[in-house]
């Protein structure tokens, strides 16, 4: 199992980027005593499993105190997201966004893209962030993935290229791999290999070797093609592959893909 990639996914899903608000600040800074009471009630979920009846009921109580307490809708929604109940999840997250767009739009957009492959919906959420003055460079990778998945490879590439020579890292753990695949599909093999080299410095995965092999195959460097294909299989069998605790990521490959490529070129 690829622990770093998995850990990244767990962080996003656990909403820990969107953690419990500071209840005391609501009381003393914002002078909002009703929301403070709702916030204190929601703190009682600590240590409870988010799928459990108790967890959900505490948040229902918090919402009875303050039906505009966005955080409680967000927290309630997570179990529905994880169980694939897109109807209830969306209703709850819509309320979270309604009452606190600054805190919830990004998360809703990311989950629409990641869990339901709702690329257009995710882009709408990211655009809404722009209109609220919440533009964020780090969202460009998600934006790029959405455009790519909707068939707009050029836009996908244009969103990422400006960051290649910037200090600000928006590529994370898999961004160079994705951009490499975009280039590969546009037959720009030199740039694709450059991206896979960069990705290799971040992390070795079966996917990176596999796509690297395809790039070398396209430029007829058969030795490197074979070398990377063999490495791809080795990495795959060792469990060094793209993984996520909940979903299958875009550009993930499977053993069948490697074996098919090997058998079609008589590589053992």
């Amino acid at each position: 199992m690829n622990i770093p990639l998995l850990a990244c996914a767990m962080i996003i899903f656990s909403s820990s980027l969107f953690s419990q608000p500071n209840c005391e600040a609501l009381k003393y800074y914002y002078k909002d005593t009703v929301q403070y009471e709702a916030c204190k009630k929601s703190e009682e979920t600590q240590g409870l499993y988010q799928f459990s009846k108790e967890y959900q009921e505490i948040l229902d109580d918090a919402l009875r105190i303050d039906p505009t307490f966005a955080h409680a809708y967000h927290k309630k929604s997570t179990a529905y997201l994880k169980s694939g109940d897109f109807v209830t999840w969306k209703k709850l997250m819509d309320l979270a966004v309604k009452y606190d767009p600054h805190y919830n739009l990004e998360y809703r957009g990311l989950m629409r893209y990641k869990c339901f492959r709702d690329y257009g919906g995710a882009l709408k959420d990211f655009d809404s962030m722009d209109s609220l003055g919440m533009t964020s460079d780090h969202l460009n990778l998600a934006r790029s993935m959405c455009h790519y998945s909707m068939g707009n490879q050029e836009t996908a590439i244009q969103l990422l290229e400006p960051y290649l020579d910037k200090e600000e890292d928006i590529f994370g753990l898999t961004g160079y791999l994705h951009l490499g695949v975009f280039y590969l599909e546009k037959h720009n093999y030199k740039k694709a290999i450059d991206m896979f080299d960069r990705q290799h410095e971040v992390e070795q995965t079966a996917e990176n070797h596999f796509y690297m092999a395809l790039a070398y195959k396209a430029i007829h460097q058969n030795e490197k093609y074979t070398e990377h294909l063999i490495k791809a299989k080795e990495q795959y069998l060792m469990g060094r592959k793209m993984s996520d605790g909940y979903i299958h990521p875009i550009h993930k490959i499977y053993l069948e893909d490697i074996d098919h490529e090997m058998s079609s070129h008589s590589i053992e």
Partner: protein, 163 residues
């Protein structure tokens, strides 16, 4: 209370935010739609979620074999108004057998809807026909777990199978 909830969830379909029995999304046995021979091994109170074991989504033969099953068996009902998401959720028991299938349907705006029955019936039957699911273990003991498939449908055709 439990009986009332069961009544609401009667038709293979879930409506918005029902009060959980134990956990969100728990599926009780319903003698009117569930196969009698399907049993959970460790009791309903110990059915986990597939991701509780940290392995992510798993399929016998990996995901390509699952996708192939639907690609070869599903006959598209081509229609411009058949768009949205269909989730089929079920339990995989300690023997890798699946049961208690439930269907949830929405349009592309996540509003609950009903697809053409020829679409949902096919997806349900193909899912039921998958005879082998991965057995997951906790502390070396095989467990029962909830799993789901989500189908993105555009113009009556499957465009994505998730997770």
């Amino acid at each position: 209370m439990a009986i009332l909830l069961m009544g609401c969830a009667h038709q293979n379909t879930t409506s918005t935010e029902k009060k959980p029995l134990r956990w969100v999304g728990d599926i009780e046995h319903d003698a009117t739609i569930d196969e009698e021979e399907f049993l959970v091994c460790n009791g309903d109170s110990k059915v986990l979620q597939y991701f509780n074991l940290g392995q992510g989504p798993v399929y016998a033969g990996e995901k390509p074999s699952l996708v192939k099953a639907f690609e070869t068996k599903y006959v598209p009902i081509k229609s411009k108004d058949q768009n949205g998401l269909i989730r089929i959720r079920f339990i995989v028991n300690c023997e890798g057998k699946a049961g208690r299938f439930r269907v949830l349907q929405s349009d592309l705006d996540y509003q609950e809807t009903k697809f053409d029955k020829r679409i949902t019936a096919q997806l349900l039957q193909i899912t039921k026909d998958i005879k082998e699911w991965v057995v997951l273990y906790k502390n070396d003991k095989p467990i029962d777990y909830y799993y789901y498939l989500i189908f993105k449908i555009i113009d009556g055709q499957i465009t994505e199978i998730l997770p």
